[in-house]
Symmetry: C3
Subunit: 471 residues, 3 copies
C-alpha cells in the first residue's frame, strides 16, 4: 500500500501558529509572482530546439550533482547512475534501472533540499500522488516518461508554465551563443538571456587556458598575445554578450582576492600567464587583478558583476580523472573578503555605477564581513544563500546573520543557480516561503508592521532581483 | 493618513505563548532596574554644561555611524547628511533637510536594531504617535525640536529620566578630563565617570603617536623618551583617571595579540616605535606587549581591563581621506584568541585580582574560543554582544553559543557602547528583553526553574555588570 | 524549605505544542533503546573489579573536568576540590567538604549541560527529590554515599541498569589490557571493549615518546628502531586490541593534517622523531603521515577510524605544571579539513572498506567543510557534536548545519565521550530528546512525514552508531 504524497500548503512556514498565520498572508501575495532567474546553468539548447526531454533519469538524476554526491557518499557508483567514464568505460544505460536505483536510496535525502525540490516536481509538475519508494519506482518512471512525451512538457511550455519572466544561462566568452541567437530568431517570447562567465580566459589554471586565449584573439580579431589586445578582446566579447541579452558577468574564483596592478606590471604578468610560465602565486595575482579590471569594464558597460568564490573544485582527484568536472566533488573552503576585496573597493567601491554581488560558501563571513561591507559600500550587494546553503536553514541563517547590519535592501532577493530546470519553481517557492516566514517572525515579535512585511515580501521575491540585475 | 506608531509591550519577547508568558514575568522584574553603562562614547561635555541639544539631526542622525553607513550604502552621500568634508567642502547645513532625507530612507532600516532603538526614542522619549515617513518628517522635526528646547530634555534631566546609575565615557590618556572635573565640581549627583583608553599612546600606528608620547611626558613630568619613563607616565595617568572615577581601561586593537617581552627587549622596541622607525611587525609586537603590561598595571591598581579587537578601521580609503574617522567604514576581521592571548594568560590568567573582559566582532569564536577560555581562566570574563552584534539576533547568538560552556556567571551582563545618548535606555531595554526571552525558553524547556531564571534576569540586567566593572 | 527537584517528562523537547506532541511520540519509541557507547573514557578497572565507588565527590566531582573548569573559572582552587598537586602539596581530603563546596557553587552551572546531566543523576539514579543547594548538600552527600554502598550501585549493576549494550574505553597501544581480559575471563556478560588510541606512540610531542617507542618494540618483539619495525609493531598492537574487542581506533591530533609520504621519506622522518631530533614541523608532518598510514591499516584490518582534532591541550601552563593533564584547560582552536585531509582522501577516500569518523570543536566547519566532505566521500562519516558542543544547543547546531548537505545517513548517531560513568544515560537521553525534537520540527514544517521521522529517530539513537562502529 503506497504512502500518499501530499505537499502541505503550509510547508516550510513557521511552526508557531501566530507566525504561521502572518506568513500565510505574506506568502499568498508572492506565491504566484513571476520568477526572475538571473543566474543559473540550464542549457539554452533546450529552449532553442524545444525538443522533448528524453527520459526521467536523464532529466532528473544524471545531471544533478546534489543527487550524485549523496548517492556516491553512500556507496552507489557513478557508473550505476548512468555517468559515463571519460575513458569510455561502461556504465548503466537503462534509464529505468537508474531510476529504480535512485528510488531505493530516496530515504538518504530526508531532511535535504533535494527532497523538498523533487517532491515539488513529483507532486506539482507530474501530479504524482504516492511517495517515491522501491515499490512505486516503476509507476513513477512510467508516469514521468509518458508526461515527457507530451507537448506541454517541452522546455518552452514548461518555461511558461513556471511563470518565468527572465532566465539567464551562463556561457564562456568563447561561446558564439548560437542557441540564444536561435531563440531570438525563433520569435518565441520567452526571455532567455546569457551571462558572461570569463573564467576560461581569465583563470590561468583553467584547462587549456593558453589555447583559449588564442581562440579569443581569433574570434575578436584582437591581438591577444599582448595585454592591451587581450583587454580589447574581453571588451568586445562583453559587448557581444550584452547584445545577446546579458546584463551580468559571473566570476568563479578560488578566493575573493583582488588586486589593482599598474599597466606595465599587469602586461608583464599577462605575458607569463599567456606563456604558461606563471607560478601559482602569479595565477592568483592575475585572477585578482582581472577582477578589478572587470569591475572597471562593468562601470563602463553597465554589466552587473557577480563573484562566487571559495570552492575547491574537483577535490576528489580520482573521481575527477575518471569522470571529469561537476560530479559533486567541489568542496567549500574558508574565504576572506575584507582584505581580499580592498584593492577593488579602493578603486570602485564608492562608484554607484558598479553593482558587485557577493556570494559565499563560508557562512562565518555573513555577519562578520559581508553584511558590514555591503552595509557600507555603495557598489556592493549581497547575493542569496548559495549552493550548499540554498536550503531552508541556509536561507534563515543568511537573513538572521545579515539583516541587522545590511538590512534587506542591500540584498538582491533570490536566484536559483541550478542546471535542474524542473527544480526552478520549487527553489523559488522555498525561498519565498522562508523569507515570508522570517518576515512573519519579525511581525509577531513586533519588530516590523505587517504592511511593511508585505512590501518586503514582494521586494525579496521579485523587485530587488529585477532591479539588481537590471532586468 | 499616517500609520500609528505603537511599541507593543511584548516586542522582542519569544513568540511562543508559553515562553512569552514566562518572559513577561521575568521582564516585569527588570524593566525598571537602574542602568549601568560602564562602556560608551557619549560626550562628557553634555553633562558638564547641560546645554540643550541643538536640533533633531545633530542629536540623532549626523553622529550615528549606524545610520550613516546604511544611508551611504544606498547612495546617499555623507554631505547630504550634514557631514562636513575635512577640506572645508560644502555640505547640507539645514537640519530639517537632513531630517527629511533621513525620513525618505527610513524603510532601509527595517529589520535592523537602529529601527528598534529609534522607534523607542520616537515613541517613549518624544511621545510621537505616528510612524516616520516622508509625510510625517516635518511633524517629527518640529515636535522633536520643540522638545529639545524644554528643560526636561537637557542632558542631565535625560540622564535621570533614563534611570542611569553610572555612565562611563572613554578618554585618551592625554585628556585633562575637564568635563568630568566640572561635573564633580558642579554638585550634580549623576555618576558620569571616565574610562582609560590608552590606544593613542600605545598604538604606534595611531595618528601623531610620537608627538603624543612627548605630550604624555609633559603632562606627567616623566621622561617618555625612555621606556621606564613611559611606563611611569602611563601609571600616573591611570591614577589620574581612577581619581576621576574611572574603574576600567579599554583597548581597541586590530588583533588580540599579546606578548610578554623582557625589559631590555621591550625598551629597545620602545625606542624604535618612539622614533617612528618601527616596522608593521614591530608595531603589532609593541601593542601586544603593552596589553600584558597593562594587565600587570591592572593587577596593581585594580582597573578592570577591556579588550575590543578585530576591527579594520577606516577601510574605505577615499571616504577616510575626505571625512576622517568613525563614519561607518570600520569592518570586522577574523580574530583569533587562543594563541593570541596566551602570553598574557601565562602571566596573569590565574590571577584573581585581574578582570579582563573580552569582546569580539567574530562570532565564530564564541563557542570555539571565548566560552572555553572564559569558562576556565579566573581572570577572564565575556563581554556582551558588541557593535554589529548588539542586536536581537546577535544577543541570542551570544547566549546560545556561550552559555553551555561558560555559563552566565562568566559574562558581565550588558553594556551599550554608544555615542547615541538617547538610545541608551532603548539598548538596555532590548538586552533585557532578549535575555529574559532566552531564560524563558530554558524555563519552558524545563532546563531551569523559574525562580532561578528570575534571579538570573536581575543578575544579567544589573548585578553582574556592576560587579564586573567594580561600580 | 528545600525546592523540589523534578525532571519534567518533556524537558528539552521543542516548546511549540504541535512540535512537542510529535517529539513526545518519537521519543517514546527511543527512550528505552539500548545504549551504544563506542567512544569514551571510563575506567575498565571498574568493571573488572566491580568494587563500590568510594564516595560522592570521587565519583561525581573530582574526575569531571567540566565541573573543575567552571568552578576554577569562578575562583575555586583545584586543591579545594580535592585535586592533588603533582608536587605532593596539600589538598582537600574530606569528600563531604568538597561536596559542600560544590553545592555552594551549583548555581554556576545554570544553563549548562553539566546541570542537565547531574540533575538526571540526582533524580533518576539516586532518587533525590530536592534541589541541590547549600542547605541540602549534606542530605545529598549522605544519601548518595549510602546508595554507593549498596550492591545495585556497583559498576556492573549500573552498567546493566543503564541498558548499555556495548561500551568502549580508550587505551594506549602499550596497555596490556588487563582489565578487559579480566572482564572477559570473569564470565560477566557486559560488553566492555577497548579502542586503540595510538597518540602516545604516534605523536612525537607526547611525553616520553622515545621511551614509549622502545617499550612498543619490547612488547611486540619488533625492531622499532626502524620504520618498518615500527609499522609492524603498530599492526601487532592493533591485532591485539581487536582480539580484545576493539572495533575502532581514535586519533587526537592538534590539527586534521594528513600526509602521504613515500617510504624512504617516511623512514628518514621516523629516524628524526625517534631520536628526538625533530622540529615542530617534522612532528606535525609525522603525525599527518601516520594518519594516512593508520587509514591504510584500517582498510586492512577493518578497525573504524576516529579523528578528534583541534584541541590545544594544557593551555594553562602553570595549572598544567601543578596538576598535570585533563584538568579543564584544553581549548579548541580553528581547524581546517578540506586541505588537511586531502592526502589521506586522495589515497583512501573512495575506499568503501574504510570508515573515518570526523569530529570537530570548530563548528564553523560543519556546513562549510564537514558536511560537504561527508556528503561526498564514501569513506567519511560525521561524528556527533563533541565535547563543548555535546549539549542541547550544540546538537541542534550540528543537525541544522549538516543535515541539508550530508543528510542523516552520513552521520553516526550519538556517542558520549565521557569518563563520568553515571552521566552516560543522561547524555544519551539528551541526544535522543534533541534529535527527536529536530525531527519533530521537520514533521510539523511538513518537510518529513512522521513515519519517516519515527524510523530516523531509531536510526539516530541506535542503528547508525551500531553500524558505523561495526558493533
Amino acid at each position: 500500500m503506497p504512502t500518499p504524497l501530499v505537499l502541505h500548503p503550509d510547508r516550510l512556514l513557521p511552526i508557531e501558529p501566530a507566525a504561521r498565520d502572518v506568513a500565510r498572508r505574506l506568502y499568498a501575495q508572492v506565491r504566484a509572482l513571476p520568477i526572475i532567474s538571473p543566474h543559473g546553468h540550464t542549457d539554452p539548447a533546450w529552449f532553442a530546439t524545444n525538443d522533448a526531454f528524453t527520459d526521467p533519469a536523464a532529466l532528473l538524476i544524471t545531471p544533478d550533482h546534489y543527487l550524485l554526491r549523496m548517492l556516491y557518499s553512500q556507496g552507489v557508483s557513478l557508473e550505476q547512475l548512468g555517468v559515463a567514464p571519460l575513458d569510455g568505460g561502461d556504465c548503466e544505460r537503462d534509464p529505468r534501472k537508474i531510476w529504480q536505483r535512485f528510488a531505493a536510496h530516496w530515504h538518504l535525502f530526508r531532511g535535504t533540499p533535494s527532497r523538498t525540490w523533487l517532491d515539488w516536481v513529483f507532486s506539482e509538475l507530474f501530479d504524482l500522488r504516492v511517495r517515491l519508494e522501491p515499490a512505486t519506482a516503476d509507476h513513477y518512471y512510467d508516469h514521468i516518461a509518458a508526461r515527457l512525451a507530451e507537448a506541454e512538457f517541452r522546455p518552452r511550455a514548461l518555461f511558461q508554465r513556471f511563470g518565468i519572466e527572465a532566465l539567464a544561462t551562463t556561457e564562456s566568452p568563447l561561446d558564439p551563443l548560437p542557441h540564444h541567437r536561435a531563440i531570438r530568431a525563433s520569435g518565441w517570447r520567452g526571455r532567455v538571456i546569457t551571462a558572461f562567465r570569463p573564467d576560461p580566459v581569465v583563470d590561468p589554471e583553467y584547462d587549456g587556458f593558453g589555447a583559449k586565449l588564442i581562440e579569443l584573439g581569433n574570434i575578436t580579431g584582437e591581438d591577444t598575445s599582448r595585454y592591451a589586445g587581450y583587454l580589447a578582446a574581453l571588451r568586445a566579447r562583453r559587448r557581444f554578450f550584452a547584445d545577446n541579452g546579458a546584463t551580468s558577468t559571473d566570476h568563479g574564483h578560488p578566493s575573493a582576492a583582488t588586486a589593482d596592478l599598474d599597466d606595465d606590471t599587469a602586461a608583464a604578468l599577462y605575458s607569463r600567464v599567456r606563456d604558461g610560465a606563471a607560478s601559482a602565486v602569479d595565477c592568483e595575482l592575475f585572477r585578482a587583478h582581472m577582477l578589478t579590471v572587470m569591475a572597471g569594464m562593468s562601470v563602463e558597460d553597465g554589466l552587473v558583476m557577480q563573484l562566487h568564490p571559495g570552492s575547491w573544485r574537483n577535490h576528489n582527484v580520482s573521481l575527477h580523472a575518471r569522470f571529469g568536472r561537476d560530479k559533486g566533488a567541489d568542496i567549500p573552503v574558508r574565504t576572506e573578503y575584507v582584505r581580499a576585496l580592498k584593492p577593488l573597493l579602493d578603486r570602485y567601491g564608492n562608484d554607484r555605477r558598479l553593482t558587485l554581488i557577493l556570494f559565499t560558501l563560508d557562512e562565518s563571513t555573513y555577519a562578520r564581513e559581508l553584511a558590514p561591507l555591503a552595509g557600507h559600500y555603495p557598489a556592493l550587494k549581497l547575493g542569496p544563500a548559495w549552493w550548499f546553503h540554498d536550503s531552508p536553514e541556509g536561507m534563515r541563517r543568511l537573513r538572521r546573520q545579515t539583516t541587522e547590519t545590511a538590512g534587506f535592501y542591500n540584498t538582491v532577493g533570490f536566484n536559483d543557480d541550478t542546471r535542474a530546470f524542473c527544480s526552478i519553481p520549487a527553489r523559488h517557492d522555498v525561498a519565498r516561503r522562508i523569507d515570508c516566514g522570517y518576515l512573519a517572525e519579525l511581525v509577531v515579535a513586533h519588530q516590523l508592521d505587517e504592511d511593511e512585511a508585505a512590501e518586503l515580501a514582494i521586494d525579496l521575491s521579485y523587485t530587488l532581483v529585477k532591479r539588481a540585475y537590471r532586468l
